[in-house]
Structures are given as structure tokens and as C-alpha cells.
Subunit: 232 residues, 2 copies
DNA sequence: GTCTATATGACGATAGAC
DNA sequence: GTCTATCGTCATATAGAC
């Protein structure tokens, strides 16, 4: 009785809502206690249920981490995607890249626990499943497509290897994020000791890989006002 | 009876040896299981004693992490110090910095667990004591002194702020290490997907902060042979 | 001083009643 | 689906033998 498709749909929907709530609460705990500080018991406690009940939705703690990985990767992908790279206003490579860098670094600084889970892998024995990793792959491809576009438009030099460009770009960003989060976790994007290095570092990068147009190859050291962090 | 200074010294020495052995075994476990995978019980098991006996030497697991932090910081400091920065042969800034970078990155790649403990802080609630952190401070000061020296010798431009130079330098190195360890942990310094970016990145850095002498300001993109990783 | 023996409470996880 | 009961393991702590 009561096993028609409508009922199944409602049950499935309810189940998905519960799963989403579990991930919400888990993310909250992770943000407070760190990635490894997450505990199944604490999730149950905050949801007002008993720990074994969680195993109906997640077969193990690693499965919960997997869902958190998927959530984080999807969120950072959406965040980066939501930011249109607008080249119509004749911006320099430097300006475009600084904007992109701050979008990504900004999200990471504001979500240190997700960043640690996604990029530092601190949980022994845990590796994300292919499904959970998929948005991360999409982010890599988006970045690559943007650099390809910048090269097509003549802002990145034509003889630059896209693999190298992307590799060096991710090294730069992960360096800033890594230093900022481990040495001065509380600081904002605008005032961070290491995030404030972005303008200089992006300038170095743009000078190296940028096409030799007059605007993008100024040889002066960045002065104080050039180091200002863009707010939008 | 038998409580003279000689006896005390022997006991103290024995105690220090035991403490050193505990740290050895703990470091071994950390290298196998990751920083958070370390357990006091496993240390005791491998030493052939019972867990409570360890508390004679370390009052808590955090204290053991503190000793591990001190050990790692001291080792990386010694490793970097052992490498004389030799400027007598008229090397370019690029060459000097690449050598220094590879020394540091090389140690980090070969000691991923120590690197995680020292630079990523994955243990919830653990922060190193001032004593344990002291060698890390010494390393920072050593790096700064070397850049000061390079500036005095005219290899780094005179108008460069040492704080900025050092900040950008640590961002570069931590970016390479972070990417290499989290995305391709097994690879060597010479063959790593990200460690092989060092020559290019160091060239970018040297071009930015180097004094404008002919040798250090070549404007060509690094070719394949320039990307080779030095073996010594 | 150093050890063994033992206890506590939290954790991840499972079995089975309802 | 949720519960109670339970298991094994963990970090931690204390008591007491030698």
C-alpha cells in the first residue's frame, strides 16, 4: 500500500533533503573545528538524532567527506563561473588576471576548511571519488579555456604552452592561499599579509606570459598604490 | 645511594635517548599514515611498551606533535644551512635562487609529513610552542639575511623592499610544494609535475626583483633545456 | 623513576528491535 | 528510519608493583 510512484518521489525528495542537511551541518562543524575535527557524533548531536541514524544516509565517515568534497568543489566552481571575464573594455592581461585571481583566492580565504579538504587532503586514507572530483575537473578546464581565450585574443603570447601557463598560475594562487591560511588565517582578502602580494605576483606572471603590447609590459616595480587589492 | 651527579647525568642521558627514539618512531608513523594518522598507541606498539609509559616522556599527544614540529623545523633549517650560497663564481641571481629553491623544495618533497605538520597545520587545536617554532624563525631570518646579502652585492635591485621579496619568495616555494604534494605526492624533485616549474618561476621572480644587469635580464621565454632541474 | 594493569569517555561502526 | 545496545579502538589518566 502507498507504494506508488508519487510516494516514492516524496520519500526520495525527503531523503535528499536530509542528506543535504547532514552535509550543511558537517560543513559547519568543519568550518569551526577544522577538517579533521569533524565527528559523526557531533553531526548527529546538532541534528537531534542518534549517530547510527546517520549511517542510513552515509555508509561511512569517508562517504561524508566525499559529499563534502563534492559540495566544496561545486561551490568554488560556481563562484568562479559566476564571475564573467569581461574583455570588451580593453583591459590589460594584468587587470583581467588579477580579477580572476581575487575571485578564486577570495573564496578560498572565506572557506578555509573546504580549501583544506579540496587542496591539501588532510584526511588519512580519504581520496575523493570520480563523481566528487568532477567539478574540480570542470574548474581546471574552465581555467584552461580562459587562458586559451586570452591567447587567441592576443593577450597571452602565442608561443606560450598552455600547460605551463596553467601550471604556473595554479602554483601562484595556491602559494598565496597556502601561506595566507596557514600563517594568518583570520585576515581578509583585502588586508591579508599574503593576499596583498597578488598584484605584484600577477604582474610578474603577466609580464612573463603576456604578449609584448605596450600596456602589459611596463617595467617599473609595482608601487604601493599598485598593490591595492581590488574590491570588485 | 648512587645519587651523585654522574648517576643523574646517565639517567638524564638515557631519558633523552628514549625521547629521541619516541620522536623517531612517531616521525616514521607520520610518514606512513599522514600527520593525523599518528597514534600514541602505535608508537608504543612499535617500541614494545605500553601506551601509558609514553606519558612519562610526553604529557599529551600535542606535546609529541610539538617535539615533532621542533624536529622537523630543525632538520629543514640544518638542510638549508648546509647548503652554502656561493656567490664567488659570478653566478646570476637566477642561478643562485634556483639552487636555494631546489634545496628547500627538495627537502619538503622528501618529507611530506613534516612539511604538512610545519606548514599546513592539520592537527585541530595544535599550535607549536615558542621553543618548537624557534628553528622556523631562524629559517625565516636566514632567508632574509641571504636576500639582504644579495641586495648588498647588487644582484637584487636596491629599491626592493626585503619584506616583499621574502613574502613573494615564500609564496612561490610554498605554491610549488603545495601543488606537488597534494596532486602528485610520489614524484621526485627532478621529475615532479610542479617542481619542474621552478626554473620558470624563479626566472620570473629574478626578472622582477633582480638588478638590471645584462646576465639576469634575458627576455626570452625559458625553453625546454632551461627547465631542467639541477641535480646538485 | 619506570613500568604494568586498569579505567574512563569519546570515537566510528554494526546488529537488531520497533 | 530511528532507535537501543554493543563492539573495538583511541587518547588520556590513575593506582600501584618493582
Amino acid at each position: 500500500m502507498n507504494s506508488g510512484p508519487g510516494t516514492l518521489d516524496r520519500r526520495q525528495r525527503r531523503r535528499q533533503e536530509t542528506i543535504a542537511e547532514v552535509v550543511d551541518v558537517a560543513a559547519e562543524i568543519m568550518a569551526e573545528q577544522g577538517v579533521v575535527g569533524l565527528s559523526v557524533g557531533e553531526v548527529a548531536r546538532r541534528m537531534g538524532i542518534r549517530p547510527p541514524s546517520l549511517y542510513v544516509y552515509f555508509p561511512s565517515k569517508h562517504a561524508l567527506y566525499d559529499a563534502l568534497f563534492a559540495r566544496g568543489a561545486q561551490e568554488v566552481l560556481d563562484h568562479v563561473r559566476s564571475d564573467d571575464v569581461d574583455l570588451t573594455e580593453g583591459q590589460t592581461l594584468d587587470e583581467v588576471l588579477l580579477h580572476v585571481a581575487e575571485t578564486f583566492v577570495g573564496w578560498s580565504i572565506e572557506h578555509p576548511a573546504f580549501t583544506a579538504l579540496l587542496f591539501w587532503r588532510p584526511v588519512p586514507g580519504f581520496a575523493p571519488s570520480a563523481e566528487a572530483y568532477a567539478p574540480a575537473v570542470a574548474l581546471i578546464e574552465l581555467t584552461r579555456a580562459r587562458f586559451a581565450d586570452l591567447r587567441d585574443r592576443g593577450l597571452v603570447r602565442a608561443d606560450a604552452e598552455l600547460d605551463d601557463v596553467q601550471r604556473d598560475w595554479t602554483v601562484l594562487l595556491s602559494g598565496v592561499i597556502s601561506q595566507q591560511l596557514s600563517n594568518a588565517p583570520g585576515e581578509s582578502l583585502a588586508e591579508g599579509r599574503f593576499t596583498s602580494a597578488l598584484p605584484t605576483l600577477v604582474a610578474m606572471f603577466a609580464r612573463h606570459y603576456g604578449a609584448a603590447t605596450p600596456m602589459s609590459t611596463r617595467l617599473s616595480l609595482p608601487s604601493k598604490e599598485n598593490r591595492r587589492v581590488r574590491t570588485r
